[in-house]
């Protein structure tokens, strides 16, 4: 007869935990892995020091003209001198405060909504969706409360990029959800309309959409009706991205087990109740990476508006390269543009990962 005595828990061997354990597991787990680690280290050694020398140690920071750039490194003076234009386009400098306060207000509202555990979020959300667009319109465009009108052709730079992408996201997500539900609908009319819309917009390049909205559309509408170029671009971008969003959301709807719908039906929930309470919360959660991916794409795709003559961040930086006083600084310009795009896209990606962790309720299937 065997009598069982419980074995005590022992500490793991020192080579499998801590810093040494981490090195062994991640960098030197096999000969090939060790080889890659060493090769990568050599590559970094070759690339990083020259870059840091160019970008920081040998760079020129002080001055107002091209002549101030005497060192070998980057000439950041160019970016500093042009900074306001890169941010605001041709917006009148005396009115910059309007743009800044509109974005600060937006940032404050979003931050309030994203921080966990603050009270009265429903009201703040309602204001962000219903009230804020009006406030933003008044601040950006003016014409009320004695604010002078600033026509949209003067808008530009990062400000325009942010407006295009925010409005695009604001419309694309709800429209995408409706289209995805429509495509799965049992009603033939709703289904066909959704499929036609999605396939039409998804099959056309965004450049074509923007070009059509700017060049072809005015030919079809009466001459006395004038739709602002920015509005046309916004409609084009929103339509285009809702089609993409619809397919992302549909992926989430299909990943949901059929039993969830059946359980909701068996409990007596109506179609809209089960969509709102059961299906969408789960489907949207599974496609957070896809949704954020589409948002990031949208953010970067807004730079295509340059072909219809709108000066977003990238195109205003590019146009500054032709300034006779500042020839030859395109590298600095592109590095700066890249950095700004990266900061926004990386923040979105970080937030999406935070959201995934927060919404995870331990139901790996």
């Amino acid at each position: 007869m065997i009598v069982h005595t419980p074995h005590p828990d022992l500490p793991p061997p020192s080579t499998s935990v801590g810093f040494i354990g981490w090195l062994r597991n991640n960098l030197f787990s096999s000969p090939i892995n060790s080889l890659f680690t060493l090769a990568a280290m050599y590559l970094l050694y070759q690339l990083l020091p020259p870059f840091f020398n160019w970008a920081f140690f040998d760079a020129n920071w002080i001055g107002d003209t091209k002549e101030a750039c005497t060192n070998d490194g980057a000439c950041w003076v160019f970016i500093r001198v042009r900074f306001n234009q890169f941010m605001f386009g041709f917006y009148p400098p005396s009115q910059y405060w309007r743009v800044i306060s509109a974005f600060l207000l937006f940032g404050g509202l979003i931050a309030y909504l994203l921080i966990d555990g603050l009270p009265k979020k429903a009201w703040i959300a309602a204001f962000t969706i219903l009230g804020y667009p009006v406030a933003a319109y008044v601040l950006f465009y003016g014409g009320f409360f004695g604010l002078p009108v600033v026509e949209t052709y003067r808008w530009g730079g990062l400000m325009l990029t942010l407006i295009l992408s925010t409005v695009g996201m604001f419309f694309a997500l709800p429209a995408g959800i409706v289209l995805a539900l429509g495509r799965q609908s049992v009603m033939p009319v709703a289904r066909s309309l959704s499929i036609v819309f999605i396939e039409l917009w998804r099959g056309v390049p965004l450049i074509t959409v923007l070009f059509m909205s700017s060049v072809m559309l005015p030919l079809f509408i009466p001459e006395n009706v004038r739709i602002d170029k920015l509005i046309r671009a916004l409609i084009g971008i929103s339509m285009f991205q809702s089609a993409y969003m619809a397919e992302v959301v549909r992926g989430g709807l299909q990943a949901l087990p059929k039993g969830q719908n059946e359980a909701a039906e068996a409990l007596g929930l109506s179609y809209w109740q089960s969509m709102y309470l059961i299906v969408l919360p789960q489907a949207l959660k599974t496609v957070i990476p896809g949704i954020v991916n589409t948002f990031i794409e949208l953010f970067k795709d807004t730079s295509l508006v340059m072909i219809i003559g709108l000066f977003d961040l990238l195109s205003i930086i590019q146009s500054s390269f032709t300034d006779a006083k500042w020839l030859g600084f395109s590298v600095e310009g592109y590095v700066f543009a890249g950095l700004v795009y990266w900061i926004f896209c990386f923040s979105m990606s970080q937030y999406s990962q935070h959201l995934e962790r927060k919404l995870h309720t331990g139901h790996k299937r």
Binding site: E262, A266, G268, L269, Q282, T361, K364
Partner: protein
């Protein structure tokens, strides 16, 4: 008060479910053929048969998760047809428990139980929570109320699913192979809850292969094969003296 209401209902409709010459097809495939079945209030029915015989489809037709194409289905005196009002009324009267539990993984146990009472029956939140806790106590897991389904064992999840259905105060309960996805150790805890429910007089239809459960609680056992009811009898006679050869073969293989 609840019991009074149920009793009134039962005096109104002594027949809980009635199927008359019901047929169903999946495309060209004739899944259910000429089903005639009358279930009296308070009856406990076990449906068994080989897989693919249509037993799950049969009970899924009773709350319109599947649509029958021919014949009639009556539940508590209401005909189950295309009228959304009828479907809504019937789904409130019938609770259903699934093989895969189908709890809502993004909601806690308590929220799972309160959802339908709040949104369908329009109960105040407090009242719905009290009812939910009452039924969670009956299935012996009140302490798990704030956990998510993913944190519970299969047996616990299935008991939550039963409590969730009971929160709607149904007159009839349908069980679609409730123990087939469970480990042997957990089957008993779910069956115990079902036995309790049967002893309280709930009208139950249960698709199951648990023959011990069938023997102890069923009023009638129905055996199906290829979409037809082959044999129906009280459990005593069904197990000891099966009539058709198909039933004999089936019983010899599972017992």
């Amino acid at each position: 008060m609840t019991e009074n209401a149920t009793q009134q209902e039962s005096t109104k409709h002594p027949i809980a479910i009635e199927l008359k010459e019901m047929h169903k097809w999946y495309g060209d495939f004739h899944v259910l053929k000429n089903i005639n079945l009358t279930i009296k209030r308070g009856e406990r029915i076990i449906i068994c048969g080989p897989s693919g015989c249509g037993k799950s489809t049969l009970i899924r037709c009773m709350n319109r998760l599947e649509v029958h194409q021919q014949g009639e289905i009556w539940v508590d005196g209401i005909e189950l047809d295309d009228d959304l009002k009828h479907i809504e009324k019937i789904r409130r009267d019938i609770g259903m428990v699934f093989q895969q539990f189908n709890l809502f993984p993004h909601l806690t146990v308590l929220e799972n139980c309160c959802l339908a009472p709040i949104w369908v029956l329009k109960k105040p939140k407090k009242e719905a929570e009290d009812t939910a806790m009452h039924y969670l106590e009956r299935v012996k897991i009140p302490d798990q109320a704030d956990k998510y389904p993913g944190q519970l064992s299969g047996g616990q999840q299935q008991r939550v699913a039963i409590a969730r259905s009971l929160c709607m105060n149904p007159n009839i309960m349908l069980f679609d192979e409730p123990t087939s996805a469970l480990d042997p150790e957990m089957i008993k805890e779910v069956l115990d809850v079902m036995v309790d429910l049967a002893n309280e007089g709930m009208t139950m239809l249960c698709v199951t292969h648990e023959m011990g459960f069938a023997k102890s609680v069923a009023d009638r056992v129905i055996f199906m094969d290829s979409g037809e009811i082959i044999e129906e009898n009280d459990p005593e006679s069904f197990f000891s003296n099966p009539q058709s050869d198909r039933t004999k073969l089936f019983l010899s293989q599972i017992l």
